[in-house]
């Protein structure tokens, strides 16, 4: 019987990334470059008059992209998986996101990340399928988004 090359990984261990403040400039750049032109995201007067939070909100898919990057590049767990366990992402397979609260200009985000599961790939010998879960947290400890990322990985 072949040994599971993905045994021993720290499944369930949670870590928090460094934080990232979404400045007004970054908010505008991210909104514009992704063509997110709805008034909820681009019109401050509309935000004041038509929302309960009184501001523009960052588009949900932008929020999930920022939190996924915090999780992948700025969390101690992701660093440990790379450096201690030799885990490397070969490809991104899928992402699921749920948006739970708005992200406004000036908000600060962190990603709480954990490895939910990892198993050998059935179709790609030598590779594995890792499922990462990330909670995007703001400065008030409110969960703004929940992500599930499925990655094709290899272990060096």
């Amino acid at each position: 019987m072949t040994e599971d090359p993905f045994a021993g990984l720290p499944v369930g261990e949670k870590s928090r990334s460094t934080g990232r403040t979404i400045t007004e400039g970054e908010f505008a750049l991210l909104t514009d470059i992704t063509w997110t032109i709805g008034e909820l995201h681009s019109n401050a007067v509309y935000g004041r008059q038509h929302t309960s939070f009184g501001e523009r909100a960052l588009g949900g898919p932008i929020v999930s992209a920022l939190v996924a990057s915090l999780a992948a590049s700025r969390s101690p767990l992701s660093r440990r998986l790379r450096l201690e366990y030799g885990l490397r992402t070969v490809a991104q397979v899928s992402i699921s996101a749920r948006y739970l609260a708005p992200v406004l200009p000036g908000d600060t985000l962190w990603a709480d990340t954990w490895l939910d599961s990892v198993r050998p790939s059935k179709s790609r010998p030598g590779l594995g399928v890792a499922v990462m879960r990330d909670d995007g947290i703001n400065q008030n400890e409110i969960v703004v988004t929940r992500l599930t990322r499925c990655l094709l990985v290899e272990r060096g």
Binding site: L30, W35, G60, P61, S69, S73, I95, Y99
Partner: protein
């Protein structure tokens, strides 16, 4: 929570379920690629557009295009929020690629938790310049219906 039939009809009646629309194409130039990966802190070093930021581009391409605007204007829809997304990456997008988004309004239903609001489900299929599918995605969006604009008063006769 079930809504009365007349409320549900006012919310969902006439919506163009099954309608589709193709976005304009968008070439991801080298400059945009660098900006997108840098702004999103995608530091992998790969010359491949990061998957999650690709989903943001696709959502923007649809919501800035004719299909979305037609639903918004012709059916008096006010979109309130994207509730989530489920995306599957099928092929890499690299600098210089051009992508198009084919979007379909798959379904609409009353919201279970927000009286008077509904949830539309959009399905996006993203293709590149070689007609390869690079991404498939579903996005539920929370919406309300507004009262139609009143008909303009007829011009006074001679």
């Amino acid at each position: 929570m079930t809504q009365p039939p007349d409320v549900e009809d006012a919310l969902l009646g006439g919506l163009p379920i099954g309608s589709t629309g193709r976005s304009v194409g968008r070439t991801i130039s080298d400059g945009e690629f660098t900006l997108l990966n840098t702004l999103s802190w995608s530091f992998s070093g790969e010359r491949v557009l990061d998957g999650p930021i690709l989903t943001a581009l696709v959502a923007g391409m649809h919501s800035s295009g004719d299909h979305f605007e037609e639903i918004r204007r012709s059916f008096c829809v006010k979109f309130l929020a994207v509730m989530g997304l489920d995306a599957h990456y099928r092929a890499p997008v690299v600098p210089g690629d051009t992508i198009w988004v084919d979007s379909t309004l798959v379904s609409a239903r009353a919201s279970a938790s927000r009286p008077g609001a509904g949830v539309m489900l959009f399905r996006d299929v993203v293709r590149n310049q070689r007609d390869e599918v690079v991404l498939e995605m579903e996005r539920p969006m929370l919406f309300e219906r507004r009262a139609p604009e009143p008909e303009p008063a007829p011009e006074p006769g001679p």
